[in-house]
């Protein structure tokens, strides 16, 4: 598009038949593609064929137009003046004068002016209140999940987990019984070798027979910490590669996460099923101001 050749290359008296033939050919291709598109649609549609025909139909038309423009339209550069971007000083002065003349009445009656301002401001402020309807306040909701004392751990199908059901090294996503769709309660149950477990002070009785349970919501930005590597006994978040040591209270060992995954205190009920002793003792998921 940078050519500055003669005005319309065909105007030079050269043979323009090849160019006409090329443009005509492109237009025929375009027409054929458009007809093909209609036929494809009528026959039920096929996405790759549609794409190819759309591209050909439009592309043929566009390229023909470009070649036609380059052949027949004037190309000699035209030079014109650049007017000042700004207005003339006289216009600027006149505008300011008009504005200031109109402004004069506003400078008087100062009490009314304050009242006008106050009324507009008060009304504007009152308009902000409906924003409050957009959602509930956070309150303490970020601090809790649906886990309650004695709630059985169930899998996504709602089946409770017996204490012997999981082999060592196995991992299962569990929910509190009756809340299998509760996003914020999703928890990873992992069975590890109890001998390797380094329980934190006060958590010694949270992991019956090597069953540990951690919130599945990453403490970084909340992705599901879904990848358990048994050999290194760590949990890897697939989103930003934070890694948590399962044997050491799910402490973050690499990546951007700053906090351990909250641990769910477990116990076994009289029927032999795993239950939660109580809710998580700290907020699950990513950090926030007053956590």
């Amino acid at each position: 598009m940078t050519d500055h050749g003669t005005a319309g290359r065909a105007a030079g008296g050269t043979d323009e038949r090849p160019v006409r033939r090329l443009i005509g050919g492109l237009l025929v291709v375009s027409i054929t593609a458009s007809c093909g598109l209609a036929a494809t649609y009528a026959l039920g549609g096929q996405v790759q064929v549609e794409g190819a025909l759309l591209g050909t139909g439009l592309g043929g038309l566009a390229v023909a137009g470009l070649i036609w423009a380059r052949t027949y339209l004037p190309h000699d550069p035209v030079v014109g003046p650049r007017d000042d971007v700004g207005s003339s000083p006289a216009d600027v002065r006149a505008m300011e004068q008009s504005f200031e003349e109109g402004l004069a009445p506003f400078t008087r009656r100062s009490l009314l002016r304050w009242l006008f301002g106050g009324a507009a401001g008060a009304f504007g402020a009152s308009l902000a209140f409906p924003i409050r309807s957009l959602g509930p306040g956070p309150g303490r909701s970020l601090f809790h999940t649906a886990w309650t004392p004695g709630a059985r751990l169930v899998d996504s199908a709602g089946k409770p987990v017996h204490v012997g059901a999981l082999e060592q090294g196995a991992v299962l996503t569990v929910f509190p019984e009756g809340n299998v769709t509760d996003y914020n309660s999703q928890t990873l149950l992992i069975r590890v070798d109890p001998a390797g477990l380094r329980a934190r002070p006060g958590r010694q009785d949270w992991s019956p027979q090597g069953h540990v349970a951690y919130s599945k919501i990453c403490t970084h930005v909340g992705c599901p910490v879904g990848l358990y590597r048994e050999t290194t006994h760590d949990l890897l978040c697939p989103c930003h590669q934070s890694t948590f040591d399962v044997l050491d209270g799910a402490r973050p060992v690499s990546g951007p996460a700053t906090r351990s995954l909250p641990q769910l205190p477990l116990a076994v009920d009289e029927a032999g099923y795993l239950i939660a002793q109580r809710d998580y003792t700290e907020p699950v998921g990513p950090g926030f101001w007053d956590r």
Partner: protein, 476 residues
């Protein structure tokens, strides 16, 4: 030919004078001035395909059971949003080509804006009097990125749902007001039923309307300023050189629209994008569906994702209050990025060049080594962040741990831009000194071959008017 109609219209709205100026308006010819047009035409394609998609998409988290032709989802509980996106891909004729064209157009739209911004930056087209239009343009970039993110998030598939989760967590991380802000915007604690309908109205109505308004301002200011142009023989600050709008520029521009639309529709049909049926639903009767590795967002969010990944595990905890880790890469970095972009013309004019004069002629990148060096350094910085967004993929390719890749990026992100600056500065200096490859139509001399085969320089301004034999060869 158009006499009666144009007179009829002119008698009623008096358009002839404006239309005449418009038809004769001069647009400089240079390939780099087409990039902004590509963005504009990608936006037109977005609007057209988007309107079509709204007829079939249901922005709702209502629980529905799938009974369509895609076997792996048979009998599963899905959100209406996800199901309608699947249905419009598989059951609506031409639905998939529209959806994929829409997605490709969105990627190209933001890409064209970024390349256009780089063209304007490296040629210093933002200088007085165009600072306001630079600000308007940066606003368009933010709007385009935001709308892309909302559109991508509407489908409620596993990958985009995870992206929304990240967005919510970033909102949550803002000091003091974060939890309130996140709850008001999402309508409660993540995940909510309100978010898909809200994203929908933002994506199809509010943000497009704002984009159209801001785009109109962008073009109106451009129209008033007239286009910049590169310096060259016969070019000056007082003149403009190029093709008239009518007919040459108009036809070329319409043809460019056709080309952009042709490429986008061809991509939409031939190159699969965002196959949400493979990703699976974000919500279903169970939330056990798990994101595995290699989950990357659309490209223009990639730099933020990369920043989230390589941010060291630091956060601020003070007397019971926390400034969480994602605040720094997720809020502070984009905030500084766009603040820097907004302020750049003023930083340049007041601190860097101290040049506050009006410019219509562009500056070649080599003639401004500091600006060009800074631009390349910043480009390298964001490109590295983008690449860091694939640290899991890279770890697989190089067969090392993601930790090793992350640590490398933590160093590279500071070293590479510095090196890039130094190299660029030197290259610009050397190029500017060499004087080779002058701007088209300048310096250099016209030569003519003599009867004996020698060359004679004609009208060489540097050497007076006397012809100088620069080379000679006797004819046999």
């Amino acid at each position: 030919m158009i006499g009666r109609t144009s007179r009829w219209i002119d008698e009623r709205i008096g358009a002839s004078r404006f239309v005449r100026t418009a038809l004769e308006k001069i647009f400089p010819d240079h390939w780099s001035f087409m990039i902004g047009e590509i963005a504009l035409y990608a936006f037109v394609v977005l609007v057209l395909t988007g309107i079509y998609l709204t007829f079939f998409f249901e922005p709702s988290t209502r629980d529905v059971v799938y009974h369509g032709s895609y076997a792996p989802l048979q009998g599963q509980h899905l959100s209406a949003a996800y199901k309608s996106a699947i249905d419009l891909s598989f059951h609506v004729r031409a639905g998939l080509v529209m959806r994929q064209t829409h997605h490709w157009a969105a990627l190209v739209f933001v890409a064209a804006i970024v390349v256009h911004l780089m063209r304007v930056f490296f040629t210093a087209a933002y200088r007085r009097p165009r600072e306001i239009n630079w600000i308007v343009g940066v606003t368009l970039l933010i709007l385009a990125m935001g709308n892309g993110f909302f559109g991508y998030s509407l489908l409620d598939d596993l990958l985009s749902g995870t992206g929304v989760r990240v967005g919510y967590s970033i909102a949550l991380s803002i000091p003091l007001v974060g939890p309130w802000l996140a709850f008001l915007f999402f309508g409660g604690r993540f995940p909510t039923d309100a978010m898909i309908p809200r994203f929908f109205v933002l994506h199809v109505m509010i943000i497009p309307a704002v984009i159209i308004a801001v785009l109109t301002v962008h073009l109106a200011i451009l129209w008033h300023h007239k286009h910049t142009e590169f310096p060259g023989r016969g070019r000056s600050e007082q003149t403009i050189e190029g093709s008239r709008l009518w007919p040459t520029y108009a036809v070329k521009s319409v043809a460019l629209f056709g080309l952009v639309a042709a490429v986008l529709t061809a991509m939409g049909g031939l190159i699969q994008i965002n196959p949400i049926w493979i990703y699976g639903p974000f919500r279903s009767s169970s939330v056990t569906a798990a994101v595995t590795s290699a989950s990357q967002p659309d490209w223009y969010v990639g730099w933020m994702d990369g920043a989230l990944r390589i941010m060291p595990p630091w956060e601020i905890r003070l007397g019971g209050f926390t400034v969480p880790n994602p605040f720094f890469p997720g809020v502070l970095l984009p905030g500084l990025t766009f603040a820097g972009l907004y302020l750049w013309p003023f930083i340049d004019a007041r601190l860097l060049t101290r040049d506050r004069k009006t410019h219509h002629l562009l500056e070649r990148p080599r003639n401004a080594p500091v600006r060009t060096g800074l631009g390349v350094a910043v480009f390298v910085f964001y490109t590295l962040l983008f690449v860091a967004g694939g640290n899991d993929v890279l770890a697989g390719i190089f067969n090392v741990t993601p930790e090793a890749i992350t640590n490398s990026f933590r160093v590279l992100i500071f070293v590479a831009p510095a090196v890039a600056y130094a190299v660029t500065w030197k290259v610009c200096r050397d190029l500017a000194r060499s004087g080779s490859r002058p701007t088209r139509g300048t310096v250099g001399s016209t030569v003519a071959q003599t009867a004996t085969g020698g060359f004679v320089a004609l009208d060489d301004p540097g050497h007076g008017s006397a012809p100088v034999v620069t080379a000679g060869r006797d004819s046999p």
